[in-house]
């Protein structure tokens, strides 16, 4: 096991290079609703998603259709990376206010 560790580290080092120049899109949360509720992003492209929470309560941006799970604190912003995704419609929601915080990611 110990003999494997250097190998694992060596393998993971070049991976730490980050994608700095990815297109970014903004999703704003107000009154527990996403604006826009339909966000269009390009297909087969890694995208940075800026999440802005204008509500006084925390929210968790989440989707069951693509990997995403991030808490946005009240009156603050954060970001996460998604994709590359294939063409199609992907639903996302705010885990803490599911009745209203619903949206669709249109990948085209």
């Amino acid at each position: 096991m110990q003999r494997l560790l250097p190998f694992v580290f060596a393998m993971s080092l070049p991976l730490l290079a980050s994608a700095a120049d990815v297109p970014s899109y903004t999703l704003t949360l107000k009154d527990h609703r996403y604006q826009p509720s339909e966000l269009r992003i390009p297909a087969d492209t890694r995208v940075k998603l800026d999440l802005v929470n204008q509500d006084a309560s925390p929210e968790e941006f989440e989707s069951d259709d693509f990997p995403a799970e991030k808490i946005v604190m009240p009156n603050s912003r954060t970001s996460l990376f998604i994709g590359p995704l294939k063409r199609g419609h992907y639903r996302f929601y705010g885990d803490f206010h599911q009745p209203t915080a619903q949206g669709t990611l249109v990948v085209e």
């Binding site: 096991m1 993971s12 069951d64 259709d65 803490f96």
Partner: protein, 280 residues
Amino acid sequence: MGAVALLVFREVLEAALIVSVVAAATRGVMRRGWFIGGGIALGVFGAVLVALSADLLASAFSGAGQELFNAIVLLAAVLMIGWHVLWMSSHGRELSRQMRELGSAVHSGASSLGLLLAVVALAVLREGSEVVLFLYGMRAGGAGHLWTGLAIGTAAGAALGFALYAGLLRIPMRHFFGVTNGMLVLLAAGLASTAARYLIQADLLPAWGNQLWDSSWLLGNGSVPGQTAHILIGYDAQPAGMQLVFYGLTLFLLWMGARFARRQPSTPTVDGRVVTHPVA
């Protein structure tokens, strides 16, 4: 109230499944009730602390603090479960023989038990901190019936955990620790895969193939069965290549480690009790 109960249920379920597997894996060990209870209490305390410092976490490491924190907590749990699995590989057979012969509780490696307490605490902390943040937000929004929802959700999640535990106890003693050890290995591999998912989301690791397949038509990530499979065997409807690497590497290392541990000389016993050395 329904929404509160549902969210709490989902979070509690994830923690409860982990606690149940750990509880089964420590079957017959003296004072393990205290360890598990203590782990849950520590986890609840930690969950409140994490929720209180969520603002700090959110801004740490240029926005990647949340993902890093989750990944570290998950990988720490993987290491601890891994250590226990290796320990059980060399002592498990002896343990189950004693339990069959004596029909009573045995001493076990306190160090290994302490690690599993930490695993329980970490599981409760991770899911619990979300519940705390959620309830805080609901309270700020003036939602009613919070406590009722919390109680119902917790009870329902814990009930499923107990059901799993009761089911595991029906496994014959001869195979018991083999099964729980195997479950711990799958649990650890799944946690490692989830850690990778967080690191990919923060762009700290490449995906090595996003969404290698999509089996959400069969079992969705958001469904309760999907969530259960996610915790127990690390199921993900749309895994990235890197997640598979983390999953496979954990399986491989623990399998190799367990084989190696089994080849070690058998454990000396005194008065029919496993003698353990303070390891960790």
